[in-house]
């Protein structure tokens, strides 16, 4: 891919700013207008494929003596069944806990002696190993990286320790209203399982399953090795050859993903779920919507959805934060996001408020979902919300880690690397009509999930949503492997 310089559409931004300022009274001073913008430089990606089918992508960026190396495996929690939830993440986490020739302690010791770091984990559609180190130490760091990917030991002692750590961490997280709300939503709203696992699934995972997941999924044909930072393509390719050429491709089967018809509902809120957490310091109020036919690969959905999210709940001045925090002081912050998936996607809004105001906040969220699907987004609002996305994107490219993440996302979803260059133009081309259409077709008919001290908001909640069925589960009784969510 070539370097392409994009000019940000700053004229519209200036107009928006001046429009805001023009209401000032005569005694006030006007801020100086911006000068003409400089262009954002999108770096070039150089790609090569090794004989074992491992793709190698390199983005050179030399202003800081740092290199990030990310190995992307295109398999994650999506390949687990609910009974083995957490398998992908546990497999990835165990890579750095010992190889045939290095103990867990030796891996940490060697990498940290280089001043570098190695981390491994899994998400819904991916697993990854990420190394960050100074360029003069990269050769030694890559030796460790390839060893953990190719020769992990999966020692039973390490599996047992990781399990007990994961379970401890889970009991801590499940006492927090915000985490608990997302955890419940995975089953209740999204018909998935939590990628981090449940108490039962973590206990049930075996060494054999872990070895099997690694054997099936960690294969060069299912992987991309991404270098970003202070390194040339020549050097990166030589290192890839040296440390990963011996990795045998086990020809992972291509997994088909079907599209499911989305369910359109007239009611904004279809169901309400309350998880009672006595003595909770706040209530978490979430709105969740399953999007069975929306996915990252569909550029015709992705960009309108992203801009829509920026309007609704992406960033400080988005509508949810305006209504809940800035206008009413009901929360420290409110926002929304999509979890993009290979076949389907999930949408959530999130905020925390004092228990007494949970019902009021739930109503405000529902109102904003409704408004998006029925009204226009005026240009004076739309243009700044696009700038939030393009600005974040440009800044993300300033770090080696951010750059690697952007490149990895394109590979993961089989998108063209040219999307790096067209991202800003794609965002800027989204119209108010597209947003309204997307929201009315996809966002309504979701769930309100409230986790908090229910005695402080139940009566009020019932009054505000008289026609909606409210299901209540005690946090002590919760079991998300059951259809009724109860043990």
């Amino acid at each position: 891919m070539n370097n392409v310089k994009l000019k940000m559409k700053n004229f519209a931004k200036i107009s928006a700013l001046l429009a805001v300022l023009s209401v000032s009274s005569f005694s006030q001073e006007q801020p100086p207008a911006p000068s003409s913008p400089r262009t954002v430089k999108i770096p070039a990606v150089q790609e090569k494929t090794l004989p074992n089918n491992l793709k190698v992508a390199v983005v050179t960026r030399k202003n800081v003596p740092l290199v990030t190396v990310e190995l992307l495996i295109k398999s994650g929690a999506n390949l687990e069944n609910a009974r083995e939830a957490g398998l992908a993440d546990m497999t990835a986490s165990l890579l750095t806990k010992g190889t045939k020739t290095r103990s867990a302690t030796e891996i940490a010791e060697e990498m940290e002696f280089l001043g570098g770091s190695i981390s491994a984990g899994a998400g819904w559609n991916l697993s990854q190993v990420v190394v960050s180190v100074m360029p003069d130490k990269l050769d030694k760091a890559m030796a460790i990286m390839s060893d953990v990917v190719l020769n992990p030991a999966f020692d039973q002692k390490e599996i047992d320790l990781l399990k007990s750590q994961t379970l401890d961490n889970l009991s801590f997280s499940l006492k927090q209203p915000g985490f608990l709300a997302s955890y419940v939503a995975s089953k209740y709203s999204f018909d998935e399982h939590p990628a981090g696992g449940t108490v039962d699934s973590i206990n049930a995972i075996t060494q054999q399953q872990i070895v099997g997941f690694h054997g099936n999924e960690y294969s060069p044909g299912n992987a991309v090795l991404i270098f970003t930072g202070d390194i040339t393509a020549l050097k990166a390719n030589a290192l890839a050859q040296k440390f990963f050429a011996g990795w045998k491709d086990s020809l992972a089967t291509v997994r088909g993903v079907g599209l499911v018809q989305n369910e359109v509902s007239n009611a904004v809120v279809k169901r309400i779920l309350v998880v009672d957490l006595p003595n909770a310091g706040q209530a978490s109020v979430n709105y969740t919507k399953n999007l069975p036919n929306i996915n990252r690969e569909r550029v015709d959905y992705y960009f309108p959805a992203s801009v829509m999210n920026s309007v609704l709940g992406g960033g400080y001045s988005s509508r949810l934060n305006q209504e809940i925090r800035i206008k009413r002081g009901l929360s420290y912050g409110a926002g929304s996001s999509f979890a993009w998936r290979m076949a389907k996607s999930n949408f959530s809004t999130r905020t925390q408020t004092k228990n007494e105001s949970a019902g009021e906040v739930a109503e405000l969220v529902a109102k904003e979902i409704e408004r998006l699907g029925s009204g226009d987004v005026p240009a004076i609002e739309l243009t700044p919300r696009k700038s939030v996305l393009t600005g974040d994107f440009g800044r993300d490219l300033e770090t080696t880690g951010g750059l690697a993440g952007q490149v990895a996302e394109l590979y993961l979803f089989n998108l063209s690397l040219a999307e790096l260059n067209s991202y800003m133009a794609n965002v800027n081309s989204v119209t108010s009509m597209q947003i309204k259409n997307f929201a009315s077709a996809n966002l309504k008919g979701g769930d309100i999930i409230i986790v908090g001290d229910s005695k402080m908001f139940m009566d009020d909640l019932k009054k505000r949503f008289p026609k909606t069925n409210i299901k209540v589960v005690e946090s002590d009784e919760l079991d998300i492997s059951k259809d009724d969510l109860k043990k």
């Binding site: 000032s24 911006p34 740092l66 001043g115 961490n169 801590f172 925090r325 440009g394």
Partner: protein, 459 residues
Amino acid sequence: MKKRVIGIILSLAGTLALFGPPTQVAAQKAPATGVAPLLIRQRILPNGLKIISLQDNSSPTVAVNVWYNVGSKDDPQGRSGFAHMFEHMMFKSTRNMKSEMMDRMTEDVGGFNNASTWDDFTNYYEVVPSNYLETLLWAESDRMVNLNVDEATFKSERDVVKEEFRQRILANPYGRLFGQYIESLSFTTHPYKRPGIGNLDELNAATNTDADEFYKTFYRPDNATLIVVGDFNQAQFDAWVNKYFNRVKKPAGTIPRVTVTEPSRTKEMRYTRTAPNVPFPAVAITYLAPPSKSADIPALRIAETILAGGESSRLYQSLVYEQQIAQQANFSTDVRVDGGLLNFIAIMSEGHTAAEGEKSLLDELKKIQGAPVTAKELEKAKNQLITRAYQEREQNDGKAFAIGQAIIYEGNANAVNSDIKKLQAVTIADVQRVMKKYFTDSNRVVIYYQNEEAKGNNE
């Protein structure tokens, strides 16, 4: 999340950021040893405002920071949490700007803004496309003198801060320990004993008049530093600074300073505190630290990295990996101008008690006091700190932050370029010396923190 207190809450995460070594200018390679210096320019305006600039045109963005020399330690009497709440008000209306106009000039054009209140300072920062630099300099100069917050806005924003309190302190199982008890039980006299987030009663007591008074007292050019890093032309920048900041008048009168000193501890103190929904007990062992300008700080930083930097560190290896009694074991140097804290902290794992945590943490302390660290441990710690310095300063705002901290903690922006040399000069003997000097039995406070069911108080 925006507009926040950091202070103690971050220090628990084991951040080593406070004295990060200096970093590179654009397109510079690391020198054979150490880190290339930041080529900063400094000047002081007649009104006392300090100006630090660092030009780097590699990306078309610029970071604009204003650091005020006022922090939570300056909270008025009976108004714990006020400096932080006031920080929120700085995003409200001025004579020339409507409320939230900072967001229009930053977020709306593809940048961002935020601020944080620490024990010793409050920093306001923006990153914007570089063609908005003049606009932001104007805005920062405007809110330095023209803030004008009405009562309704004050009350609404106070509710936001109360929600922030609930989210950080009440909704998090360990929020009370890290955000309240460590400070309130570790200091007896210095205002550091009052947690920066405050408490609901004192937040409720605060008025709009308090805000006016606080603003007049502390928000003035001779109590601030403007730090700008990124894509600009030096002569143009200097001219804009002259235009927008020279006109800010230096008020009469002096700025009140905290002069109270925390007395040395004379004997070990022990406390037990409880809270709802705490899944596992935790223990914090705190020691009073020397002031931020102390020559012992670099050796304490190295010790911090040896004890708690990564999974090969001593505390992780002992408590988490070998004994498996804790899910987190940490040591952090919470450096403050008037002397902060040196904290050992463990959050226990299932079935293990705070007392076990205390014993194992103190065993590790005895080890590092009793025998020299190895040459390899020392070199590893230095390598980790150098890499971390580069990672923190990949972007303009990270460099501006490092410069700001050098000013607050060492009284000198150039310290950003000498700190790394000090870290690299630390010897094995230095580490052992500081560990013996500060970690005495009489300088110890021990806090056990557990679920309130343990005292039979679960409703």
